[in-house]
């Protein structure tokens, strides 16, 4: 810089400081503040694994489940099952000739699941994975549900004997099955696929599956789900119990290896990254987000709803049978390239009303929708063709749940 243009650029000096000098100092100051802020955000990006989620040890169970041998390998498949709010309420006791499956009573959902309905459904899901893995790895498995009435926590005994390996598409789908809370494409699920999924009921009796595919049925069920979601967030204790399952930082995911994560919400990549960079959400804003997602994504883009029905959802054995069928359907859906999301807000409100001995607000409407005398709803879910793939959820590895 030099010559006559200098004055024009730098401006008159005031008190020995040129305008250019002031502007430069201001610019450098702003840049410094910005760099400090970006430094903080970079650490948060590191801490919350913005770049590449699901790389930590909390996700090892997904990567290593086929490598585990023997009975622990069966448990390694079982821990990848679906569970309510990813609480993973299971414990395994490995014997020489059998595996006992126990409920971990410390892993309940509180007022969201006051009677353990969802917990037993989750245990049924784990039992199904275990049985599929046993067959695929050359064991003949005999499952006895609630073998000891004196021990309510012992939910199943799986006797194992050497047999011939029988692999299956369901077994192969265990590592790819994830709950997908993102939007689904505007495509119907072909009737043939629904029929094939219904056929999975097989020996799951007394559990069965019902489908809701017409616009009217889906609309009525969607309305009921949104209303139930609003009721849950308005119920402070249910809201708190749900919030307790959220894992909003990388540290908490690695520490607990359970719960719901931002990556599992089905959001697109930039929104997920922004959510991870921002301060952790409060309970109330998290509730608002969930209700909004239920209204605008989960219910609006559901290609079909499914319901697992049993004669008496209060019977733990029926819950286990329903859970096994639910897991089987989820695996079959996964194997066909479809997505699935568990949506239990209606039954959570039904059980909440019952636990408080209040008049039933949701049960009559749900029964009218199901319209199958002698059968009641155990669990509800939606399926469809996903816009984006589901993400892995954190898991406690088998070694942590074998006693």
């Amino acid at each position: 810089m030099g010559g006559p243009s200098d004055d024009a650029v730098t401006g008159p000096a005031v008190g020995g400081v040129s305008r250019r000098g002031v502007l430069r100092a201001g610019g450098v100051g702003v840049l410094t503040v910005a760099v400090v802020g970006v430094g903080g955000l970079s650490y948060r990006a590191y801490d919350n694994e913005v770049r590449d989620p699901a790389q930590g040890h909390a996700f090892d169970a997904w990567r290593q489940w086929r490598e585990e041998r023997g009975y622990p390998g069966l448990a390694a498949a079982a821990v990848l099952a679906a569970s309510p709010h990813n609480t993973q309420p299971w414990l395994f006791r490995v014997h020489d000739d059998r595996i006992d499956l126990y409920a971990d009573s410390a892993r309940g959902l509180g007022t969201l699941d006051p009677f353990g309905r969802e917990m037993h459904v989750g245990l049924g899901c784990a039992l199904e994975n275990l049985a599929l893995a046993a067959a695929a790895r050359g064991y003949d498995a005999h499952v006895a549900v609630r073998p000891d009435p004196a021990d309510p926590l012992l939910v199943a005994r799986v006797d194992l004997a050497r047999g011939t390996a029988r692999g299956s598409a369901l077994y192969d789908a265990i590592g790819d099955r994830h709950t997908n809370r993102g939007p689904y494409r505007d495509s119907e699920v072909p009737a043939g696929i629904l029929a094939a999924l219904t056929a999975l009921t097989g020996d799951a009796a007394p559990a069965s599956v019902a489908w809701f595919t017409t616009a009217d049925a889906k609309h009525r069920l969607s309305d009921l789900m949104v209303t139930a979601a609003e009721a849950i967030v308005a119920d402070e204790q249910q809201s708190r119990d749900g919030f307790g399952c959220l894992r909003s930082s990388g540290d908490s995911i690695e520490r607990h290896k359970d719960g719901l994560t931002l990556d599992g919400q089905g959001l697109n990549a930039p929104i997920t990254a922004a959510a991870k960079l921002l301060p952790a959400t409060s309970r109330t804003s998290g509730d608002r987000f969930w209700v909004a997602q239920t209204r605008t994504v989960h219910t609006r883009t559901a290609a079909a709803y499914g319901m697992i029905l049993t004669p008496d959802p209060r019977d733990p054995a029926q819950r286990l049978a329903g859970g096994r069928l639910l897991q089987r359907i989820h695996l079959a859906v996964t194997a066909r390239g479809l997505a699935m999301q568990h949506m239990n807000q209606i039954t959570e409100r039904i059980d909440r009303d019952r636990s408080l001995a209040r008049p039933a607000q949701f049960e009559p409407a749900l029964s009218a929708l199901v319209a199958q005398p002698g059968r009641q709803t155990l669990a509800t879910f939606r399926i469809g063709y996903p816009v984006r793939a589901g993400r892995r959820s954190p898991r406690r590895p088998a070694a942590e749940v074998i006693r």
Partner: protein
């Protein structure tokens, strides 16, 4: 007086760095067994190796100090960074194992500053835009740290390029510009969805271009600062 302080700082730095290397090796070998003493880290091996590498930088800074070749404010500031950055960063890599090495390194850095605070402050102020650019390069490395191996290497290389660009030789302006752009743009482009890498890249280009322009506008300091021995 300054020479004596530098010698003291060198000894502190060498001992702190050596203890840091030991702490890093202990973390890598037995971090899982040490539990909270080693910070309860999920990945003790890479963190231990990172600690060894950063401690080696501190040892190198201590050796330069010990050799007594600190002739300019800029070099003194660089040595302060070589001692203080490992001293601070490793607080989050090896848990309580870093308490003594970290304290020694930070004490050493403070002693180096105390020997010629004005020269250090002036050097840092003169090169402030370069410092900011280097910090932004480090941000790239931090953001990439949890990525899969290929992207981790790419992100680390990009970060190092951004960090180094402002400090390339006076006669290498085109090279410095090329290194800055190649460091900032491709990594941000392929990780655009994180949003953060885009912001880092924009800031790095603004700060880096200004730093390179400043550095190449001014010739090297004709009169190196000399300190009495």
């Amino acid at each position: 007086m300054n020479a004596r302080r530098d010698r003291s700082a060198a000894r502190l730095g060498l001992v702190g760095g050596a203890l840091g290397v030991v702490a890093g090796l202990v973390q890598a070998v037995a971090g899982r067994e040490l539990g909270s003493w080693a910070g309860d880290k999920a990945d003790p091996v890479p963190l231990g190796l990172l600690t060894v590498a950063l401690s080696a930088v501190a040892v190198a800074a201590g050796l330069v100090l010990y050799a007594g070749s600190v002739t300019t404010g800029g070099r003194r500031a660089a040595l302060v960074a070589g001692l203080a950055v490992p001293g601070l960063m490793c607080l989050s890599t090896v848990g309580r194992l870093w308490w003594i090495p970290g304290a020694l390194l930070l004490l050493a850095a403070g002693t180096v500053v105390a020997a010629a605070p004005t020269a250090v402050a002036r050097a840092v102020a003169d090169a402030w835009l370069g410092v900011l650019t280097t910090v932004l390069g480090a941000c790239f490395v931090v953001v990439a740290a949890t990525a899969r191996p290929v992207l981790l290497v790419f992100g680390a290389a990009s970060g190092l390029a951004v960090a180094a660009a402002p400090w390339l030789g006076h006669r290498l302006r085109p090279v410095a510009l090329l290194v800055l752009v190649l460091g900032a743009v491709p990594f941000a482009a392929i990780t655009w969805w994180t949003l953060l890498t885009l912001v880092i890249a924009v800031l790095a280009l603004v700060a880096g271009l200004a730093a390179i322009r400043d550095r190449h506008r001014h010739s090297p300091a004709p009169n190196p600062v000399r300190y009495p021995r």
